[in-house]
């Protein structure tokens, strides 16, 4: 920490500077390369994240496995809600990757936005994941507000074509498969960092290429 009053002032969380990452509480993503590029050094603790994928199953969930394992091991652990997942989350695989099963809440619904807003705003969940192919900017705005109300990490999975639409989400990432891992491109972030990061899923480790 610097003794410079200006530097100390700039550390204030309410102060946001255009090109620098403001201090906001985050969870480490588990991938040092990704942590380095995200504002605050990880997933926001309260905020909406959009993950845009060309199709389900390209590696977007493995990107989240470290943070889900971390959140489900907290004391006290709130829930991790899975809202309208495209397939069944496979419990043995989750347990093997260190995700506590007793903190998982699966919600099957045709109206994922309503359930997502309830989960985010209730304060009962540490994180909520929603698969919502058709969601408008207004809906996302409500979700973003709900994340702040419930201090919850909200993650919405959308199709890659949604990148053209405006979004109030705090963080937007496009995930495409790349070799044995994924390429993550920052489309929007507080702090304005852009760019693409290549992550490799080895046996649980991530490397930067």
């Amino acid at each position: 920490m610097s003794d410079d009053p200006l530097a100390r002032l700039l550390q204030h969380p309410a102060l946001w500077r255009g090109r620098s990452a403001a201090q906001l509480p985050t969870w480490s993503t588990g991938f040092p390369a990704l942590d380095a590029s995200l504002p605050g050094g990880g997933w926001p603790r309260a905020g909406l994240v959009e993950l845009l994928t060309p199709r389900p199953g390209v590696g977007e969930l493995r990107l989240l496995v470290p943070v889900l394992a971390q959140l489900s091991g907290l004391t006290p652990a709130r829930w991790l809600a899975w809202i309208a997942p495209p397939f069944e989350p496979f419990a043995p695989a989750l347990a093997e990757r260190g995700i506590a099963l007793d903190r998982q809440l699966i919600v099957r619904t045709a109206a994922p936005l309503w359930a997502m807003e309830q989960a985010l705003g209730s304060g009962a969940c540490e994180a909520a994941l929603a698969w919502a192919p058709r969601v408008r900017a207004r809906g996302l705005r409500r979700l973003q507000l709900a994340t702040e109300r419930g201090r919850t990490l909200g993650i919405v999975f959308r199709e890659a074509s949604a990148a053209r639409e405006p979004s109030p989400a705090a963080l937007r990432l496009a995930v495409v498969p790349h070799g044995g891992g994924v390429e993550v491109s920052l489309l929007k972030s507080r702090g304005g960092a852009r760019g693409a990061i290549h992550l490799q899923f080895g046996d649980g480790r991530a490397e930067e290429r």
Binding site: T75, P76, R78, A91, A95
Partner: protein
Amino acid sequence: MVVPKSAEDLEFEAAGRGSPVGAAALRRPTPSPACSPAPAPAPALSAEAGELWLALHLPTLAFDAVCREGDASQPVAVVEPVRRVQRIVIASRAAHARGVAPGMALAAALTLEPRLDTRNRDTGAERALLERLAAAAGEFTSRVSLEPPDGVLLEVRGSLALFGGVDALCAQVSAACRRVGTRARLALAPTPLAALAGARVSRGRAAAPFRVMHRAQLVGALAPLPLATLRLPQDTLGRLAKMGVNGIGAALRLPRAGFARRFGHETLATLDRLVGREAAPRRAVVPRERYRARGEPSYELTSQPALVAFLAPMLEALEDFLRRRQGSITALECRLHHRGGAVTRCRLRFAQPAFAAAPIGFLLGERLAATTLAAPVTACELVSSRLVPRRSASATLWQPGEHGGGPGSEAPELIERLRARLGEESVYGLCLVPEHRPEAAWRIAEPLVHRNAGAGARQAASAGAAASAVPAIGADRRPLWLLSTPLPLPSPAGGNAWPHYEGPLEKLAGPERIETGWWDDRDVARDYYVVRSGAAALLWIYRERRPPHAWFLHGVFG
């Protein structure tokens, strides 16, 4: 709008499972065989000296059970067939004034009072009234027991100070009896039988009620009472009367050995219980209550908001009912009656016992919004589950999520909200099953509302469970997603060729053989492969080992 009528539905469980009330319940001496002449020597007064019993004797129970409010001023009688002759059991004051008396044949009574209105005796209704009275008496003490056919006993030693002394307590108990719809004669004594005997004695209005506070005065107070108040068998009473023994005091003065020989050990034991030489345990009534209320709106309800508005006061009555009993409910059924007898049922189950009207109303509103009404609603009925004791928790100082504040009540509330709108089965948790078949290696579990221990213990437990339940496979060999039903994959080249799924597949790992489950008719024999699809997704596919060797997609690595 009509104010909903509430009726409390009571179920009782008096005999059988309730615990004996008396402290010395198990100390009953075994009755000696009839041939043995020597009765036990008079035992010392038993140790449960602190008890004080309030007996409620209901002389007009048969009348109150079947008659309505204004009947007392009309010539009304309750009749019962005794050896094929209808006889009067009890008559109203108006009928009594004309000479109609209990035990009289109906024909004779009609001669005395031709306008006599008769009701058939209903012992079921009498029992129900007695049980309602016992439930109301639960207000005064937790030790209430039924004395069928027409008595209720309350152990009130501890209640005297709380209710302001004997007079105030008796006044409040009498008022409770009137609310239930009957009148009771009260008597206080240190033993249950003495209290009942005192209450059964008919005294004039002016006479002081039978009240014995201390055991030392008990025998003296009982002495003038007639033996009939003990409800001994009729022939025992007859034989005692022939000996000139009519009062309790005279019976107590008889030598024990001779008394037991002539009238049996059981009769002697009754006298011992009467004066407290022997314990007389009572079974406490355990009321099993449910809430049931029915409301009929003044006009038929067609819309969900109107229903919610109509149900709101009923739910408040429910909350009031629960608060008075310090109870909560785990389920609530709302029955919407339509014209023609059709009923729509809305059943709510709560993630944790609920008692407050507002959240229950919210959930009911959500459920009603998801229900389509077939026809306008003419009546609403609320039926609760059995009551469970309310567990109150202290409020947390911290907000959830800050400074380690717990999840508090949000967790069950969230589940209830989601379930109310989406249905019970749409919200669930996960747990592991030690199995090799992927589809059987997990199952749906009830979401865990109350967390156990700390996260460390839980993590260790889950890691241990995972280690013991699933053979160590190594991370990344199982997909994060499983298809609930495997998707058949076409194999364009036919035969043994690789299948296609949105293009050709590239094999990365495999085969891994899973062949198990012969014991439950769902045995599998599969070779699993990890493949990369044309769209660069990692897939988990398998091939049946049995003909026709079809390929299936079973998982996505995500």
